[in-house]
Symmetry: C2
Subunit: 232 residues, 2 copies
Amino acid sequence: MPEISIVLVEPLYEGNVGFTARVMKNFGFTQLVLVNPCPLGDDAIMRASHARDVLENAQRMTIEEIYREFDFVIATTGEVSKSVCTPMRMPYYSPAEVREIVADIDGSIAILFGRENWGLANTELARANLICTIPTSKVYPILNLSHAVGILCYELANLPRGTYPLAGPIEMDSLYQHIETFLDKIDHPDFKRENTMLLIRRVLGRTKLTTREVSTLHGLMRRTEWHLENKE
Amino acid sequence: MPEISIVLVEPLYEGNVGFTARVMKNFGFTQLVLVNPCPLGDDAIMRASHARDVLENAQRMTIEEIYREFDFVIATTGEVSKSVCTPMRMPYYSPAEVREIVADIDGSIAILFGRENWGLANTELARANLICTIPTSKVYPILNLSHAVGILCYELANLPRGTYPLAGPIEMDSLYQHIETFLDKIDHPDFKRENTMLLIRRVLGRTKLTTREVSTLHGLMRRTEWHLENKE
């Protein structure tokens, strides 16, 4: 399988952390990462049941560290109403589509789940490679956290190890920095900058660039920059 | 959607019943049936959250009533080791396969989930049309009840209404009775009877017979019986 970690961002209820550990192990996942979680006590241990090891081996990381360490980051969000088609949460992919997309990745993947009451902040979502939304009923779309984790784990279980060598987070960061500089050079307006970068991150994020492709994109931008600087 | 009911058979923990109601409603299902459940109190209501209506409208039925009332009954079981290939629990289908199978049904479907500690009894399984097993890790295959329900609901959500007119439970019962009588007439040995009937129930159960097909099978048996009785 690709190395998939489940990341809970500021979970509020220890019972949900325990249930998450359990359902992860049910589908063969053992790498749990916690970002600033609630205190974990007996209730978490009880609900983890025979997945106490997953709970106890959970790593603590910051959002910054997650985007620095993982090759591919998937952020989950609740279903958004059609009227809120912001580039922050669109386009989104179903768990089955995510399975297709990540199936051939050879690299580390993090799946982010937000707080029980309001999910992930835009700042936590912005750098994700792609957004995943579990299709739910409009009448009552709010899944319990551990049920959402369970459905992702069910879909992503038993993936064969991919062979697709992803560019790492450092390479991708340097590409995005280059693009930002490039946008400066073509006088891209400041007020549009954030949304444009978000869109570029989403498009390039989900295309799963290889190291070679990243370097080709750098080359194309450098070539364009040369012509911009040397125009008569 | 086909009319799908979720049936919990003797659930032991009210929290799981509440969580079940919630995850059902998350995927658009509202018909919960309880067979001899534990007492339901505050914990069930709390975990049902905004699906309190599903919990409160839950019907109480017996296993007998379920097999009498529903056109198609799916029994869920934990994954069985390969060494226990009994006809009782084999062959089994994954939730995705079940989706394919039930997709075109026009009729009422019940999905049975057993007790948290030991699942469904053989007597409760025996008459099911088919067996569904969620593929899990061998290391820790025991899913929490509500997580198992959630995965089935996720797979079966948003099915279009089928157009396939199933023979009802009364017609199917009369077919199985005819087959039993027929087996008597051909001196089928008693000690094999139970397993043979189980196999026949499974095969005919999952083929989703129409009323017309049932009557053709009756006709074929009657014709054979006539020849058995009128042989020289």
